[in-house]
Point group: C2
Chain length 186, copies 2
DNA sequence: GCAAAGATACCGACCGCGCGGTATGTTTAC
DNA sequence: GTAAACATACCGCGCGGTCGGTATCTTTGC
């Protein structure tokens, strides 16, 4: 192994981002104070401000890291799909329902509530989705597929607002139904 | 008419609730400070605390008022619908897209972002929706109708996160399509 | 090879501000 | 008169952010 260095700034930075995300998931965006994040990462407030010039920069970095994970998850999901048509929509539905990046049952699910609550972070999310959509116009530009993706978003919204119940629906059944709607018509 | 009184507490209370909603819509939930609401309503902070025992009580009242409006809007929309099957779902879709209570293009649309961001208010919204759903089980308990409602929620989410664009879709076309899905099959 | 020099990483104390909330005084309505 | 409807003044707290100092790593000069 390589000799261990005493100071590992990259690791500290990653820890800060992860702690920020964890706190946001646990207590909402209002719980994400500079002090709390610093404490949680075992650093002082001054130390945090050495890595991030402002609190907003920290939050931006947090969302960026999250979106990267999501990107990777969706990409690998698409790669496993033999059918081109609707592959992005299927990958998206899977990520929303059972994905590890921000699926229902992950703690990161509630993190997204925090993201939506902040106007800057909300915009970032919107841009990400817009870019992703543009990239898959060839295979996923269809009215029904749009509805399926919107329904997935709605299911997520319902899940986080109604204490883990989506209008009394079985999640698995809903997911299966949405996926079945993504097969090419005719 | 009765002679005009200088002090009209009920009117002041309503003004406080409306101002709180307006500020939440304009600046997000973090902008809703006791001072800001009081100033905006032409009252001092002490005056506000005379009407509401705490800030949370003010927020609760704000959401209650909003849900009452929404209830009324949906009820009247259902009353105008000759077909029982899916009448609630249609009313819901209409409210989300073009309603005056919290439709896309109203300022109250962004207010709901604030509601979702607060765990207490979020729960209130979830309960409201759950009750409403229970009430219409006879006419609106169907998988497709569920998907339609979820898609409407998703469309709203997309609207507020992507600067008034829903995946490049025409809003009118999407609304028409969702409504067409609510007609009884077979 | 090895200090000196300089950059980087981090600590700890501090600051101003605005928050939610309170205690008390003053005006108005009936 | 007296109770409700306000205004005024104030408090403690926690926030984001700053700053001077220090320990640690990296580069440079010879």
């Amino acid at each position: 192994m390589s000799y261990s260095r005493k100071k590992q700034p990259e690791q500290v930075q990653r820890a800060l981002l992860e702690c920020a995300a964890k706190i946001a998931a646990d207590q909402g965006i209002s719980g994400v104070t500079v002090q709390a994040v610093a404490d949680s990462a075992g650093v002082t407030k001054g130390g945090l401000f050495h890595h991030f010039p402002s609190k907003q920069a920290l939050l931006d970095g947090m969302v960026d890291a999250l979106l990267e994970k999501l990107d990777a998850e969706i990409d690998s999901s698409i790669a496993e799909d033999p059918v081109p048509y609707g592959s992005f929509t299927r990958a998206y539905v899977k990520s929303v329902f059972v994905g590890k990046a921000f699926g229902f049952e992950t703690p990161w699910s509630t993190l997204f509530v925090a993201v939506i609550g902040d106007s800057v972070l909300r915009r970032r999310w919107g841009e990400w989705f817009g870019e992703r959509l543009e990239r898959h116009r060839a295979t996923d530009d269809d009215l029904t597929l749009n509805v399926v993706r919107l329904a997935a978003d709605g299911a997520w919204l319902s899940y986080v607002t109604a204490d883990s119940k989506v209008g009394g629906l079985e999640l698995d059944a809903l997911r299966a139904h949405l996926l079945s709607l993504t097969v090419k018509p005719r």
